[in-house]
Symmetry: C2
Subunit: 189 residues, 2 copies
DNA sequence: CCGCTCATGTAACAGGTTACATGATTTA
DNA sequence: TAAATCATGTAACCTGTTACATGAGCGG
């Protein structure tokens, strides 16, 4: 099971409801995992049944009631075991790269449109991750924070997310430049 | 369907058998997709049934016979349509990042072991992609090749793969350094 | 003769996505 | 009063992984 451990890791920084967790999976957690809300509700139910998390009902007056979950000792042990086991390498799996692979056989304009859409999206994530990093380290420098901060896990994963999206953006822009130049060279013939 | 288009894109550079395709998916194609051989055989069958690829039996004397597949006009049209449709953004989904997220709650030594294993793996991929790029551009410079080469799609995706693995390697090494330094700071107390 | 490469699959299962469903409250 | 947010799920379907199965030739 895969999502299982991502959820446990996400719950380490405070008790969350399914709804809040879903939000997390769209923001911070998106650096290392992604999941639909439906998947999360199902996984939370399973984790609680297995005793890896404990839920408690929170009665709200103005909002619907919710259930907050926290990682149990058994959950921590599970994470520990998971960390010790060797991870299989992860692969890129991206529709956009498939399209670029076919570059010389498909419409260039359509491809450029896709690339610039992605570049914009990547830049937005770069901005977001930058903000998240700043809010985590507060007034400290990055070096200072990484040396003495007491919760560096999320910071490190956010750094990877940032670099990944910068890589996406730069690569998209480079590919666009290359395709445009070839277009012009072709026109001159 | 997702694998579908990855297979079509991979077959653009020459007719391949299921077996050869599986090899491709472990090397070059690994820049943008990954798949088990079983999945590929199943997908090839489906694609042929839908008329997007055409297979022909090749009788071999010393080896078992094989079926080579090539993309049909309908297959090219499908790729064209796929390229024009907007791609949903891709996400990182990586066990290793989940482990790092939990960094402050799990055994540091185990984590460092995972990180250095991954760094080694990433470096191997960097070397491999470097070789692939050189063999694609032959004696030309990268700029020259990208301007005038007649098949730049695979080159561009390989560049992304290269940058991605460099990013992985650098990030792993950085994380290891940070964790080691904190370990020592902790010991001094 | 043992293990690797070539060559192709089936079957069972685990994991992930999409569509559908409900209902209250707050904000524009 | 319409749309967004809070809050939680079920069901059907599609995709991907793991285990199993077969068989010939080649290299050490």
């Amino acid at each position: 099971m895969a999502l299982r451990h991502a959820v446990l890791a996400a719950l380490l920084d405070g008790d969350l409801s399914g709804y809040q967790l879903a939000k997390e999976f769209d923001l911070g957690v998106a650096n290392f995992w992604h999941a639909q809300p439906q998947q999360l509700y199902a996984e939370l139910t399973r984790l609680e049944k297995n005793g890896l998390i404990a839920g408690r009902e929170v009665i709200q007056e103005t909002r619907p009631n919710k259930r907050l979950f926290q990682v149990t000792d058994a959950g921590l042990a599970e994470l520990e075991e998971f960390t010790a086991a060797s991870a299989k390498p992860s692969f890129i799996r991206d529709d956009l790269l498939v399209k670029v692979q076919a570059a010389d056989h498909v419409d260039t304009e359509a491809l450029i449109a896709q690339l610039s859409e992605r570049a914009t999206f990547a830049q937005a994530k770069v901005d977001l991750f930058g903000k998240l990093l700043r809010s985590m380290r507060q007034d400290r420098t990055e070096e200072e924070f990484l040396r003495h901060g007491d919760r560096i896990g999320p910071y490190l994963t956010c750094l990877r997310g940032l670099a990944f999206e910068q890589g996406n953006r730069d690569w998209c822009e480079h590919a666009i430049t290359v395709l445009r130049e070839r277009q012009q060279a072709h026109v001159r013939h």
